[in-house]
Symmetry: C2
Subunit: 303 residues, 2 copies
Amino acid sequence: MVGSVAFDTLKTPFGERQKILGGAATYFSLSASYFTDVRVVAVVGEDFTAENEDVMKKRGVDTRGIQHAKGKTFHWTGEYGENVNEAKTLNTELNVFETFEPSIPAEYNNSDFLFLANIDPVLQKRVRDNMQKVKLVGGDTMNYWITGHRANLDKMLKGVDILLINDGEAKMLADDNSLPRAARKVMEMGPRALVIKHGEYGATIFFRDHEFGAGDHPFRAPAMPIDEVRDPTGAGDSFAGGFMGYVASQGEISRRVLRHAMFYGSVMGSFAVERFGTERLQSLTREEIDQRFNTFRELTHLD
Amino acid sequence: MVGSVAFDTLKTPFGERQKILGGAATYFSLSASYFTDVRVVAVVGEDFTAENEDVMKKRGVDTRGIQHAKGKTFHWTGEYGENVNEAKTLNTELNVFETFEPSIPAEYNNSDFLFLANIDPVLQKRVRDNMQKVKLVGGDTMNYWITGHRANLDKMLKGVDILLINDGEAKMLADDNSLPRAARKVMEMGPRALVIKHGEYGATIFFRDHEFGAGDHPFRAPAMPIDEVRDPTGAGDSFAGGFMGYVASQGEISRRVLRHAMFYGSVMGSFAVERFGTERLQSLTREEIDQRFNTFRELTHLD
């Protein structure tokens, strides 16, 4: 996976934290590490400590692709109000991320799966072009690239098999307020399947006809009704990590596997928000994960 | 069931309609009529025609409880913008509804199930008190009663087994932004179970511990990803009709039955919004309903 490592300064109705370890690469890697071997490509600054890196290493994540650059690590400052689905960005210091040029270690070349977290689509495409042998490419993006870097994004989307974005991004990308119609339009841009995340209401995967199996029926995974969402940061990246990690752990990429991956994505997202930062994702067991998977099944299955 | 019969004048992104037949009683009755026998208590004015009443009669609905009063029928005028989940009320002419005094025909006395649609909680309670022998009472309410008639509403809630409201109403009623916590608080006010409707994201039923079965696991039914929601009016009442109608058609009131009822509620809501007014609910077949039930199952079930 390629993405950002960051320090996050944030405030939620449950408290505040200064410069805690975050970033899509961190959340994704920790989440996926419960299902498969993960290799990260990212950049950090001189303020990124060995202890920070150990958070990933302890989960067996291969961090050889993390470049150490002069300067400071990407720093995001934001807050969440009563509606925890919406982050308000107060400040973004790109720092070393501004000149990030992803470089893929030779040892990563035999990877079967690739996830392009939300970074400049020019960089996403470059990484994707350098990984021609992968079986499946997952990707993410955000409003900033949709509105301001559309031509580059369009090129990137042609190389993505499964795009994972939220409701607002899907509607904006397709310029259509109907989700199923927006989904079809986005899939015409490249992706063979589209995961739309609905925050506290779960997520839906739409398939292009005859891709990954027969028919074009979507599939919806619930989110967990959680009493206290302490810190929603990284929920989407944790979802993506559970989703891609589970797919990578399976022998085939079928609709059935993708349905289960939707559940595992939701499960990992639900753990991530229980505590601040990556705390909860550092110390899970596969047993806890499968227990929650069963809770999700009970939440949605008739019999 | 007791509720409003109305004429609706409305505008959606798909068109406009003048004074078409609507009201909670109409949507609920038509929807429930596909599952069980329905008896209505309501009031209409002199502008309510035999053709209007035939819409219900053709579906076998017992309309002997519909009072014909001097004056005009309740008239609602509203519109929906791009976000079809939110109706904007432009005008409300209560007309004969202003002095509505529900009167229950003697022939209704052996009813086993009662649904109190969204009307003045004083009237809801009066009807409920007159139907002591029913096995299960369902109910609805809205912001207007929650904020302005709280004492009356609290008394009404003590007599309701299952309350069906939406996200905003649940949060307002409990004064709590966490849905699961709000659900528990609402259930402390009387209801043994609470159905919270999430619009295009489906609905969740929460149970009080040891009510209708063991445990306190909620259950979530999806909504249909629909390309074109032509007219969202009556979706909630159609949901309630499918939900209560299905429960009434079963020999027991168990968690399993209630889970299936959640699906049938969603199914009926999804049909209602496909066309303007009650059009789609007038001409369904049980086969179409069960076919869509299976689509909902495919949408959510892993295997």
